[in-house]
Structures are given as C-alpha cells and as structure tokens.
Symmetry: C2
Subunit: 334 residues, 2 copies
Amino acid sequence: MTATRLEPYQVEKAAAWLDGRVVETPMIRCEALDRLAGCRLWLKAENLQTGGSYKMRGAMLGIGRVVERGGRGVVAQSTGNHGIAVAKAAAVYGLAATIILPTDAVSSKIARVQAAGASVIFAGTTLDERLHAVDEVRARTGHEVMDAFDHPDVIVGQGTATLELLAQLERRGSALDALVVPVGGGGGVAGACLATAGSGISVYGAEPRGCDSMGRSLAAGERVTVEPEPTVADGLKPALVGRLPFNIAREFGLRALTVDERSIVRATWLALIEGKLLVEPSAAVALAGAIELSRRGRFSDIGVLLTGGNIEAGFLYQLAARHKSAEIGRTEIG
Amino acid sequence: MTATRLEPYQVEKAAAWLDGRVVETPMIRCEALDRLAGCRLWLKAENLQTGGSYKMRGAMLGIGRVVERGGRGVVAQSTGNHGIAVAKAAAVYGLAATIILPTDAVSSKIARVQAAGASVIFAGTTLDERLHAVDEVRARTGHEVMDAFDHPDVIVGQGTATLELLAQLERRGSALDALVVPVGGGGGVAGACLATAGSGISVYGAEPRGCDSMGRSLAAGERVTVEPEPTVADGLKPALVGRLPFNIAREFGLRALTVDERSIVRATWLALIEGKLLVEPSAAVALAGAIELSRRGRFSDIGVLLTGGNIEAGFLYQLAARHKSAEIGRTEIG
C-alpha cells in the first residue's frame, strides 16, 4: 500500500462520497478561549461526530470500499477511537469486524467497541504486538486490514474534517492562517495537509512531548521510532508514524509542535468549562498547541481540529477534583 | 409591563435584530441519546451561546433597546445565567450593570458576572428579597430593570432560540412533533410558545419535581406560588412564574412535565458522556423531560432546548465520582 500516491483532489472525492454518511460537525467559537489565545480560534468539533471521533470518516470510507470489493470482514488495531469507528462502520454495512486493542486501552473505549458488536482481542501494549495480532487474524479469516493511519482511505477520509472546516469558514467569509491537528500515527494530519494544499494555511501537527514521532521524523528527514513516554493523550502514542502519512507531511511542509502534559490537561479543562465541549486529552493537544502557537503572535485565525471526545469518567473525576477546591460547591447531588 | 400583549411575529422581528449579535448555535444529534429515547432528539446547543446560555438573546435585545431609549444603566436579579447575560450584554454596549444574586448562587456564575465587569449585590435566597434589592437600586440610580423573565424583550429574545431551531430543522428537511423547554420563571418557554405558534408542535415546559410553579399554575388556571424544594437545577427555582409568561403559556396551550432529581442528574451525565456537551442541570431538565416524554410513544421528533452550560467544577466532580467506579481508570493525570 505504500506505493500509493495521494493527491488533494482525493479528499474532495472522499467528502462527496461521505456526504450524508457522516455528521457535518459544527465549527465553534468561544470568546473566553479567543481571549486566552489573543486571536480567533475556530474549533472543529469532531467530538460530536458519530462514534465520538473523526475516525468515523476514514472508517466509513475504507469499509465502504471493502464492501464494494466484496470483502466479508475487516480487522483493525487501535488504541481506541479507530477501533470504535471501524466497529461502528462495519455495523452500518453489516460486516464482521475484529478489533485489536492494547491491554491498557481505556475502558470506556473498550465498552464502545464492544457495544458496536465487534470482536475484541487484547494484545500487549505496543504497536508491534497489535500489528502481529492483526496479521494473525487476517491470515486466519481472510478479512481486510483497516490500518489506523497508514491507509489511503483513512488518510483522505480523515482529511474531509479539515475540508469541511474550510468550507464552513468560507461560508462565514473567514479564512485560516494556521491549522493545528493532533498527531498519533499521522493519518489525520496527512489528510489535513492534502485538504489545505495550495491554500497558504500553515498546518501544524501537535504531539505530546516525549511522543513526538512526527516532529523527530520531520527533523531527521526519515521516520524515527520513539520510545513513547507516558501521556494522558492515550490516542497519540504510536512509536512510529505511518510511511504514507510521513511522506505526505514532508511533501506538503507540515510543521511540528510539542505540548507538555500540564498544558494538555489544562486545554482539556478549558475546552470543557469554557468551550462547553467534552474533548479527550488527545484532542485537547490541538487546543494546547494552538494556544502555544498563538503566543508566537503571527496568526490571527487558527483552526483547531478537536478530533474526539471519548473520555473516561475517572479522568473527568481527576480533572474536576483539581478545580473544585477553587470554588465553594453549593449544589449537592441528592 | 404586564399590560403588554406579545405576538408571534415579534419573535421573528427579534431574530432579525439579533442576527449577527448572538451566536447561531448548532443543532446536534446524538445516536446514543436517540437510541435511549427511541425517537429522534434534536438538541439545540444554547450552552454554546455567548455567556454560556440562551439568556444572552433576551439580554442583547433588551439592553439594545435600553440604549436606543437613551438609558444609562441596567439592574437585574438572577440566580445566575440572566445575570451573566445582562452583564455581558451591558459590557458590549458600554452600559453600567448591577446584578442582584442570591447568597447561594453557584460560585462559577458569580465569577462570570464579575468577569464581565458588572457590580454584584447579594440579597438573601428568595426571589422576593432579590426583587426588593432591584427596586432599591432602580430608585437610587434611575437605571432600567431588566427582569429575568417577566419582560417582553426577554421573552421574545429567548424565543429566537426556538425559532432558530425550527429554521435549522427546515433546512434539514425535518420537523418537530414536540419541543421540551426548561421552566424557571417561564420566559424561555413563553418565547418558545410564540415561536412555534401555528406550527402544530406540542410545547412542553419541564420543571424539577417540587419546583413546578408553571405546572401548578396551568392546572389552577392562575399563577400559584410554590415553596421550591432543593434541586440541582439551580436556575429553575423561582417560586412564582412571571405574569406575562403565564398568560402566553395559557393562551398557546403549553403542557407541563415534571422530572425528578435522579433523572436530571442522569441527563446531565448523558449529555456530557454521550452527547459530548457540557450542559448545566437546569438545561438537562429538558433532556430528562424529553426522555420521559419519549416513553409515552407519541412523538418521533422531539426538540430539546439545552439552555445553558454554566456548571461548577464541584458538581462535575460529584457527577464523575458516581461513574468512575464503573470503569478501571488507567489514564492518570501526571
């Protein structure tokens, strides 16, 4: 699949195909966040997408094509959201799906994969262990592999979120100078590069510090494997970005940003309490990156791809615990 | 002001005036909530409105008119959201604002009123005590009173949220059979009655059990004062609905619904974890009401006015604490 060359027009084709099959998520502004950033932030609320993340776009497109080819089932590895999306998309098409999850997947994501009717197999904690399990299932069942990021349909599918944001801005008579997208394996940000090609928008891939496989790869001029450090952004831990995403990122001039754990947690809270949006830490990485970027003072309109909102109650509990002492809680749950 | 008679066309006029002055909030669907209700729920996300609630609509309209009349300032009593909205709208117009809050107002709402630059006066815990304080300020300053619900501009302003929802549905080629709106003093639901007049949509006013001043008033055929019981829905505690809202509610055939505390808390959690929207318990009352209504099986498309999202960290903490034990929390905030 790595011989594939993707072109910007393919994102437009994908968007036309996905029209009516995925949600057109709203573009949201928040006065308090704008004030904080000192510029206009245009939030693309993909946490409101079916399945709770933008991964539904790539999964619907990819699985739709599997069905066209007469495939009988799919297998995918994921830390969560891609697994949920593949499980839900397969259910839409009545296709069998097997999802390989790490043993440290967050329980709310496991529950959502299972609720969609997919078979779940747990395989270690590393990408290699999961990929090995994928091969085993593929060999046994003959089902097609739906890679989480190194897959053309997934890349152009995820890219439609960016294309939709650009169209929404255009209808408002506005435009972006910059766009910030969280980077795990790089599928979403590669799609964003394709979607913005020729627009003059600077695309930034935001990664947790210590999980900056894209940043290090771009600096080295080749894909670099990192040993991911622990992060609250559980969706952004791949040790190595995809070959196809990396090639696109390099070709289209992706810039890299890293954010620390403290700013990710803060951005998750700000999105919630000021933006009124539940986003997962992996999505808040984009907001943290945009706030960081805004400090450089070069941009007046920054797009922020809030990629998903599948979060655990335990994380919310910790987040609220940090802030509740700052107020006098008067409303008691009876 | 009680001699005023409001007509449906005035909501349309208000909407035209407010166009570009308030946010067109998104209409959101959530598969999981639809499945739970067994029908289509069309969520109007006014938690994403400027100031975090639909009260901004009435406040912008009302204060805009005060400015046209040459007024120098406004005074308003509120349990929170109307106060935030008046403070923010006054700031937009550069007008002085004094907000009378109860001593048990939630601290996050107090902070938001103050952040908007308004003067805050605390006055007891009852509506009577706050109204007395309003009179005192009006007499002393000559500033106009912006009542939280018994005010024509506030009623038609709040009604524009419903009108906007109807327009969004029409663009989607859909329509409502029913609409559920939370009831405090009745301004929002009276606006909804005007906005839906002649459409055949059944409008339901949802109240916390024990704070059902509108329900009891409609049953009695006259305004009835209740002794409000404690509720997590801190915005819906007025002991008596407004005269003007009550007259509109009766004339346009408003129906009443009550929901218990448990279902309000549950709806707040569902909106958050499934809908990915932070709504305050007073807004979740509409979702709880819609779920209750859906059980009666007569409706296929129910509109839900999610009126606001200003919530305390302490409440979120309690809410998450109830659910975190059901999962194995693996993501730790460092």
